[in-house]
């Protein structure tokens, strides 16, 4: 048995339709400057018959996070639940993490190191940051802390086709397994609509 959740994102390419809902919801909920993409939908082979597909990518909150490894000022920290966060008061905006990141997650605001979003900005899985929970400083530097509120991160909450799911890895895997098991078995919804969007 484990004591803590292990938070993970999963995006189903068969369901992602490139609607950008996750991106816009993230930007809006966290009041990001235009041009900062904590999350981005990537479409490959756009317009090519039979080959086009899309996937939504943000910080994947790696267990052995390369950004954490390479940061010269050790501004990153990994929570017990696996969410990778960083301290904007320590960050110097050098961009080493961008070299290391396999997903292009780190973002660098154009308004300089001392602008409202600070030095480097990235997806927090809507878990705020090192500033006191629900403080104005946390809100301004890191955005919403929906995890502390017991809510699903904004991107997954808004996903129109439920391609993007997030939560404890065991839960995410269970949803994926249930979907796989349901394949070809016909329409089914034994519960109400609160369950239907699974």
């Amino acid at each position: 048995m484990y004591e803590y959740a292990r938070m993970k994102f999963y995006c189903d390419e068969d369901r992602c339709i490139d609607c950008h809902g996750c991106e816009v919801a993230c930007s809006d909920a966290n009041e990001l400057p235009v041009g900062i993409h904590r999350r981005k939908v990537i479409t490959l082979n756009e317009g090519i018959e039979g080959k086009e597909f899309s996937v939504s990518i943000a910080c994947m909150h790696c267990t052995d996070a390369p950004c954490f490894q390479v940061c010269p000022v050790e501004c990153f920290y990994i929570r017990e639940d696996g969410i990778v966060l960083h301290d904007k008061d320590k960050c110097i905006g050098c961009g080493y993490c961008l070299y290391a990141c396999p997903f292009g997650a780190p973002q660098f605001p154009r308004d300089g190191a001392f602008g409202i979003r600070g030095v480097m900005d990235k997806c927090t899985m809507c878990a705020g940051g090192p500033a006191p929970t629900f403080s104005i400083k946390e809100r301004e530097l890191y955005g919403q802390n929906r995890i502390a509120e017991g809510k699903v991160p904004m991107c997954a909450a808004i996903c129109s086709t439920n391609a993007l799911i997030v939560g404890d890895a065991a839960h995410v895997a269970a949803i994926k397994r249930a979907r796989d098991a349901a394949k070809g078995k016909g329409a089914m919804t034994p519960y109400g609509w609160d369950q239907a969007y699974k």
């Binding site: 490139d18 235009v34 018959e49 394949k183 016909g186």
Partner: protein, 741 residues
Amino acid sequence: MTNHLGDIQNSKAIIIFGANPAVNHPVGFKHILKAKERNNAVLIVVDPRYTKTAAKADLYVRIRPGTDIPFMYGMLHLIFKYGWEDEEYIKNRVFRMDYIKKEAKKWTPEKVADVTGVPTDVLIQVTRAYASNKPGTLLWAMGLTQHSIGSSNTRMAPILQLALGNMGKFGGGCNILRGHDNVQGATDMCCLSHSLPGYYGLSEGSWKYFAHNWGVDFKWLQNRFATPKMMHTKGFTLSKWWQGVLQEEKIYQPTPIKALWVQGNGITSVAQTAKVQQALDKLDLLVVAEPFANEAAVITNKTDNVYILPTTTQFEDEGSVTATNRTAQWRSKVIDPLYESKTDEEIMFTFAKKFGFYDEFVRGMMMGVRNGKAVKVKDTFKWPEDATREIARIIKTIGLTGWTPERLKKHQENWHMFDEVTLKGIGPMKGEYYGLPWPCWTEYHSGSPVLYNIGIPVMEGGMGFRARFGTEYEGENLLAGPFATIKGAKVKGGYPELTKENIEKVLGIKIPAREKAIMGKNWKVDLSGLIAKYALQAGVAPYGNAKARAYVWTFPDKIPMHREPLHTPRYDLAKIYPTYPDKKDQYRVDTKFISIQKKDWAKDFPIILTTGRLVMYSGAGLIERNSKYLAALEPEMFADINPALAYKYGIRDGDMIWIHSPEGAKIKVKARFTYSVSPDRIFLPFHFAGIMEGKNMSKNYPEGLIPYAIGESGNTVANYGYDIVTQIPETKAGLVRIEKA
């Protein structure tokens, strides 16, 4: 929409003509993805462009715009040839399918390939996949309707479904996706020029029914029109109202249009924006009432007598809205109106007061039914509940009787107690479908989630096809056959629509004289509700049970016929499949058909133009272009162009280009390379406005209200061309020429 989005999960095959739900209905599209995932449904997308929806398809068909009818005849050719049709269904439930069969015989795969550009093997593969996986559902949207033969297209698709026996089945039906919030509601209320609310038409009988229900004198209503005849004459449409001002084509009313009131409509969302601009300039008065500055006030050069009234958004008002699948949803007010903005109804009430008909305007909300008559029952009204009650009391045609505010609110409060696939309620909501999909015949009826389904009892939403056009035509019976009995009905097979006169005979019952005395003439005007009551007791729908008509004697084409677009790239085919003769007095204005098509436009305008929507914008983009995050996704107007076509004109990715229409309009936009369009066509989104033919109009926005994204309106170059019946513009199949700017 005959079925509903959740029901698509029951489909084994899904064919989409001219709709892009992945972009325009992202949440609804989930049900299609689930059908694929859980039901192994085959997804077939027929579209001139490789869309986001096509990216999820099993089979994709790149069709030439405006050739859906030949493609569907091609499918029917194979269906009849190989005996894939549902013979029993056709015999009992369809009128004159043999006429279709005869026409389909002509459309061999080779001929279809020549006209549509779809290879024969693709047609065969698609037809086989669709016909052998049942139930199959057919979806469409503006890609099928916005053509000069749009009305025929919308008949052809149900005919294909009827041939396969897919109508009135779970997982089947024709699912037409409405493009905006409450468009179905606006249609049901007939916010249009050709009918009273509830599709009652403009006949004297209809006006009298409404006059009675509104508690006003018929003569008083009549006197509000210039002449009694005007009362029964269709008005101008959104598509061509501008001719009422410009009069370039002959108009049929005593005076030109002098004033325009725009409330809740993106005026750049229909074709011929340049003409719209000219008409706006010439008006005496222009009023726009919108939460955001409407483009009507921006694209005009008019400097005086333009008024912008701030209205509230949906969050600042309350009431019922109707979803794409005919369900009602109650919407609560979240906040009070911000700043000086007013709700739509308050603006309307103020207007009515100023013009001196406020009392008559609101009286209907204070009326109720006593002994089969509408009478005034109280002296005040409560918005919006009493408006909803007024709708429920009057609108029988589509069965809104059951839509009381109390029921709708209960559904809103218990929405988690409904199943998404069946819409069935559980727990306290048992016996009702979510949102009471119309027809909801009585206050105790469940609603009808799937139209024309004879497989379930009427009390659970079953019904046949409506017996709207008499009981026979040229000696042939129009009523449903003996094997089309509605489940649980006491009347076997088909029967006519119920009237006071025939109800006892049809249902085989005896009704007390005192009840007959208060009963309305027929089910459509029976305020007493007795016809519906006795019909439901007998297990039949009040509107009869007839055959669906594949052959319609009142339409210009009795069966759907292919006719080339007015501006066709295949002039040779226009000779074989010519469009209609020009039409006089179509919604008060002459409309050109053959006189446009007789010229070979493709010589000078060789590129096909088709238009559509982007995921981040809707309609004319009034709201979304004011959101910085949405605007950032697509900040500029563009044209999708295949690199091979661009190369011919020396255009590179990102170059500015001029696009010219046959009408002489032009727009300057950015070229965007993509393989989603083939080299014979370009695609334009139509959400932008604020730049007209290269001229920036943004100085016309009130201070501080310039949206984050402005651009040329794609509809400026959308060609002239209108449907023969509905006058919907032909935006999906035009011609243009391009050059590097």
